[in-house]
Symmetry: D4
Subunit: 163 residues, 8 copies
């Protein structure tokens, strides 16, 4: 089973990105986490991205804020699917800069973009990608979706009982 | 090897969505294409989405415009990874409605969103997802990226020779 | 006299959506409230929406945030008028995603959209819809509007007396 | 059965607003159409709006562009449900001004807003409002939705046969 | 010398609108202040606006938030110059709704729009309008601008002395 | 009676700004027109603005596009009321840059902003400003508004007769 | 005297970027032009950027559209000043993506951003940067600004003579 | 070696603009700081800008918020490179007004715009401009970039050791 690499541009992205780690560990999927700044450590970006598929990774999750170039640059250097998490950092313009910098990639180099600060969904998407070729993970995803449903059903019961 | 399902909300999305078909066929990946409207054929949406993983599909690409609910609703009903293509339809507000309706999914139900009208990238992303567990496709992706590079190198040569 | 069904995507929408309950009760209109998540309980969404007009409801109010698919999906499944309330949830981009996901419905499937967090107005609009065929409720709406006027007139008096 | 009044701010809104007339006539619902400018004929606005419920109307559809005050001002003067159609007029800023001027009404005075240029949906919504208290119209709405589904099913068949 | 009328849609606009009162009183210009809601007191809106030029007013300042129809509706009913103040009310979408509802008036009915929450500037603009035909006020405006300059010069001195 | 000065940043603004000239001439108000670029002729900007009130002008209309500094800079240099016209020039981002550069003036230096490309309204506003102290012009404004009304009434008649 | 390097992400950016070449040649400044795609030729990006200051360049101009990573990535790899030109490419969302991807760089790695499609200004800015340490170029910039002024003065004369 | 002039529209911009002072002093570059308001002290703006290149300055950094005309007006009056810092002031609309007023300069008069509140980057850019003609500063910029990299490398080590 493939591992998932989670990289982010700065430690300030960690509170958001940790949600991806948590959900992937719940799925029992192996995760490595690192800080790789497109703008401050471009050489590390190159080394990491060019070798990720040789180092046992199957999916890469990359989170960044502002003019968020990390996900797109990783995607330019790896053949693996890259999931981009736009982070609403302190210097961001309501998150629009992060979203557009990650989403609007040119033809040939996709980034699978999730919602603003959507690191949890990035983790689930990584699990779904692994699950598309791995029955066991697919079943876990099915079970996870079932658990989401049950939580809503329970909260609906509580609400109606209060009326 | 898994198949890719491509669905769209309306025939008017076809000119955009055909780019996904084309690129996937270039990769030799089997593709099925259908029209499934979240708002006009909700029953078909349910049938298709609930059974996609049982019908041999590994990845779903869903394109829609305006208040684009198709990708998110498919994602709510399947354990497979869903790639969403925001289509700039005629009644769209510069594409912002399509993008936000697809991208901003709640925690638990991700959609892998690509750029506005980015159906080609949706196809490549689907190939990368299949490739993350299939060496042969991974190598095709590597070769494809190499071909992108060569095209740029050639056009750069033409430009410099003209000076 | 018809009942009004109020559904929302999550308990976190309740503080906003309760204003619709309150105003409808002031009008003496019967209200049922439930949690129905388009993305987490799609089967419940189908059951609820397909049967609402058979279960004594005349109007449906649906509130949701982010990529808010609930109002539109309910509208796709019911012949009743559906009022959509865009909720500015915590993960929303200033409410734009909620608004555009609810407002920009394709031809054939309207959602009567009110202002961001405008659940009170959703309740009043539901009363007006019932009132369009029910003299007693129409007169209540007329009286309500009179009371709005009087409140402004009184506050204007207070302001001018302070000068 | 109640009539529907359709008003618009200017003859330039007619090409958009005519879609509401067409669909309502298809439903066999009686429609009156007029030009009422909030800014150029405020007295007419007052006369029309204050008396609409006395003149046999059950629902009002109001369309306007730019700083679109017509729907909201009609709503301030009538107890009837008012459906607002934001029109993307030539001097509009991509329609944002029309949408926000109609949608963001203050507490107490709702306007049921539909999509940009969504006059057709305004007509359908008016039918649904009438249908919420009129079995025959409700059944027409049900039949209409069925016809939408069939059109999609047919176009899907055509698409798949072409493959 | 003409008086200035300041009207606003709600008492919640008062903290913003009071800045217009303050600056006009500093210029020694007579001011009347009132609450006139376009949506809740449309009759008062009509009475006030139609008679303002007969009641000794030379300029009207109107402030409102959200779908802010007050300034435009006053402008439709009076031949006097109307200054509109977009107020960033609690239910506003970052102020964009207020700004566009006031600014984007159709040909024939202008509103002199100032910055978001710019009531102080509305007051100064009213003084400039009166001053365009009244030497004494014009000289006050000149003196006021001189005082602005001196304040900046002083703060610049303080800054440089701190270095 | 005071004259109106109309200045614009470039000859490319002329097709828009001419509407202000036309309407002011219809009111019989004297107009001077000139090109004054804040960025290319700053000295002319200074000379013009500092002396406008000494040269017989009562109101200044300034139109510009993109980062539109002309209206605000004129306003910083004259005690006269300045009306700003945001022009949607070819290099503008849908007009947002022009609007925000003119509207969002700091406290102390107002610009009376009209709609995007709203030069006609700028002319009418200038007439209203002159009219606030000049009975004859005020009466012309009243007559003008009457003519607007009649045009709408006539077009409404044509519409209804066609039904 | 230093040379200026102009790079762009794609040949489709050439019609915009050529304006930078033209104006720099008018200033007699040596220019090299090349295509360097951050996403398709990342190795070339590295080689070019890391060595630009060793290869006789003093300033780099980089233009790109969509999720425009080229200017920021060049800036992360060179100690030279980098001027970024947001290009409104065909797949851009009105240019907002290009602008925000280039402008909103994180602390430590600036890009000197000019207006959308503002390649001409990028060229002038490059000349000003060279001119800040080179009297001859500084004088050329002074002369250029004089010529801008004269052109406006002439067009103003033509306009006034036509009145 | 040239000096850098830092000007801002108001003392309220100082907390942001001080970051430019700090970083430039770290580079050992001489800095002068002053308050120059385009709208309140236009004469000072003219004096400062026209003479900056004669007073030993090589680069000008100008920061302002709202309708931020200072950077563009300085640029219109000096042949030196002008770096603009959009400040997110209290009356700004999320910073969009500041950004667009500074960025979207017309052809002929560039402003080198940095990110919202990006005064630190303005300082670094000024150093890079000086460094493009001064080996010693260039080497300082190279060393600074190396220090950025090391900080990221260290924080990455800390993160991985915590796992």
């Amino acid at each position: 089973m493939g591992k998932v690499a989670i990289v982010m541009g700065s430690t300030s992205d960690l509170p958001v990105m940790e949600e991806a780690v948590t959900i992937l560990k719940e799925f029992g999927i192996e995760v490595d986490i690192d800080i790789v700044s497109a703008h401050r450590t471009p050489d590390k970006l190159f080394d990491f991205s060019k070798n990720a598929h040789k180092n046992g990774y199957s999916v890469i999750i990359a989170g960044a804020g502002g003019a968020a170039h990390l996900p797109g640059m990783v995607a330019s250097l790896t053949p693996l699917p890259v999931i981009g998490v736009p982070v609403k950092s302190s210097n961001s313009i309501d998150g629009w800069d992060s979203i557009l910098s990650i989403l609007q990639m040119p033809g040939g180099v996709p980034v699978a973009t999730v919602a603003l600060n959507g690191a949890k969904n990035a983790g689930i998407l990584a699990a779904q990608i692994l699950g598309s070729a791995d029955k066991a993970i697919l079943n876990q995803v099915i079970a996870y979706k079932e658990s989401l449903k049950e939580k809503v059903i329970r909260s609906a019961k509580v609400l109606r009982s209060k009326k």
